[in-house]
Symmetry: C2
Subunit: 399 residues, 2 copies
Amino acid sequence: MTASLLLRNVRPYAGSAVDVLIENGKIARIAAGIEAPAGTPIEDGRGEIMLPGLVEAHTHLDKSLWGQPWYVNEVGPKLLDKIDNERLNKRRLDIDPARQSARQSIQSSLTGSTHILSHVDVDTDHGLWGVEGVMRTRDEYRDIVDIEIVAFPQSGLLRRPGTLELMDEALKLGAGIVGGLDPCTIDRDPKGHLDAVFELCQRHGKPLDIHLHEPGEVGAFSMDMIIERTRALGMKGKVTISHAFCLGTPDPALVEPLIEQLAELDIAIMTTGPASRPAPPVKKLLGAGVRVCSGSDGIRDTWGPYGNADMLERAMFVGLRNNFRRDDELRLALDVCTTEGAKVMGVEGYGLGEGCVADLVLVPGETVAEAIVTRSPKRRVVKRGRIVARDGVSVRTAP
Amino acid sequence: MTASLLLRNVRPYAGSAVDVLIENGKIARIAAGIEAPAGTPIEDGRGEIMLPGLVEAHTHLDKSLWGQPWYVNEVGPKLLDKIDNERLNKRRLDIDPARQSARQSIQSSLTGSTHILSHVDVDTDHGLWGVEGVMRTRDEYRDIVDIEIVAFPQSGLLRRPGTLELMDEALKLGAGIVGGLDPCTIDRDPKGHLDAVFELCQRHGKPLDIHLHEPGEVGAFSMDMIIERTRALGMKGKVTISHAFCLGTPDPALVEPLIEQLAELDIAIMTTGPASRPAPPVKKLLGAGVRVCSGSDGIRDTWGPYGNADMLERAMFVGLRNNFRRDDELRLALDVCTTEGAKVMGVEGYGLGEGCVADLVLVPGETVAEAIVTRSPKRRVVKRGRIVARDGVSVRTAP
């Protein structure tokens, strides 16, 4: 935490070139022509764009196949096909959560992410294997990335007895956030599921991040029940709804009252910018004052082959999904993958101001929009004032 | 055309490793352990995947801003905003069609494309500037890529008198395909527009490729009128409908009769895999026997900032849009960007068989799916038996 560094000739958000002096892991000064104390290491920014560290606000570190032999996907089309296939094959495929989360975290860091929010499976077949593994990565790779863990009942909470008790254990052990999942279509008991996850939140004093893939009217029904409990239990600002496909329903009569209440109760929305699903309208949500973050979701796992952990590429996906073409719109897509994600994760001292923690990424480009669409691999990543990745190579070695 | 080359240790479609002997620009032999004639240059394939050259079957070579200073997009939301903004600013922004098409063609080639189908603007402000420019690139860069030109009335055909005559001239000059555009919503005269473009096809003996962005019922109406004329004029196999968003309407009663007729009349569909629009269902169309190709559409132009000409990335977009997760589905996405595109363009001798033209790309990866999702820039591109790009560097220099 005592790193000192002078970044010469960088352009915050593609603005005018400045120097940035970092002391004790924080941005001490931003100005043109800074004279650094003798002996301060100097990094030539080459006029590149300086952005705050990218925020991966929704992924599954425990289950990526990154660095494993290619997994030939022949899985069936239903959500439960994918859930069961994964749980039943996790050991056979040697998806060790500690190793795989380390691999993905390094990949994430070298593309510019400095913060990761990871859902981690909790189920009766594998118990806390996942949470323990990702906690190990969280502790061992603290120098390159900050990781927060959501205890996530991927296989259902009530339909598999014993899961609720494991969730309780996971939260005692070190998961910071309560997870949930499709209360109607997976547990088939929306009242039971939501009462259970909110009770966990209350008991442990933790926030909630619930996966809601349910589309249209049924998704709106579940969202309404989440809103109801958030209000009744005084959990304003403590709830995130991930995916929220129902907000992409082309029916303002259904969507607008939901958005109004999300804003009122400061419920955050996470969207990956999914191409094949209805998706929350990012510009409208931000305009209403709703926090909107993004994430890679699963990366090269048994669910699907896509993903590379690059949150600049994710900003592009968010832009493509929302038909963002103007430069000011692309900036919104970047915000979703930086400042908005940091708000959702409650990151302290995040940003490019003096006094902020020096979590930064330098990327070539003339404008923010160009940085997003070009996605240059030539990036330099700074974590707490220390350069932790350079041109796709991390200071840490993947296991 | 007399290039000889021995590719050692390559894996066609990620299958078993073989050697490939190329003579006179064609694949002469595929086998394990080929002894090449003395003096034949040998390229070590390093066990990489060998694919047929990628096919960029829908782009706009004349209007990319590639290599220009960043264009800050502040354009309005309507289709006509974008059309007018571009036409009115083309000279001011120095979008020289010859130079810009050369730049994009090189970029296209070095990512693995060996064939490009380009729509080129024809309008009363710029006349045949675009067609002449792209023809120059077509002729000057024949060694790295084959280019076909669609004369495209981007600003409308009937609403701007004089355009039809220019289209006629463009076809006499060297455009090989008649273009068209949204007969209801741009020209606001579906009968007039379609009669005019089909008449051009008949007069010049050329095929048709019409942009159809019109959604839902109005798109289905226009498509039905295209089908009607295709049948009446005996143009089976000679028509492509690009975008065809209306086929993404979630109404089988509207979509299925259209698909049936597309198959019957061998009308091809082009889809970019658009994330923000309804999109043609690729798997269903291929299953019905409809040819489906893909393309980048506009690349970094005044319409929007996205795109890099990489048709492997495009296969990923097609996969993401169609929710392709299985390896056999990713293969369909690749087919759309290779063999299907070649069918639509009528490329002779296309493929990986003995006797085929040696238009190839070598890309690292264990499987086709991995090649698509990883999109390694480490590619080698072979055009008519000659290596024309290596690791992102072309044998040709961009102007």
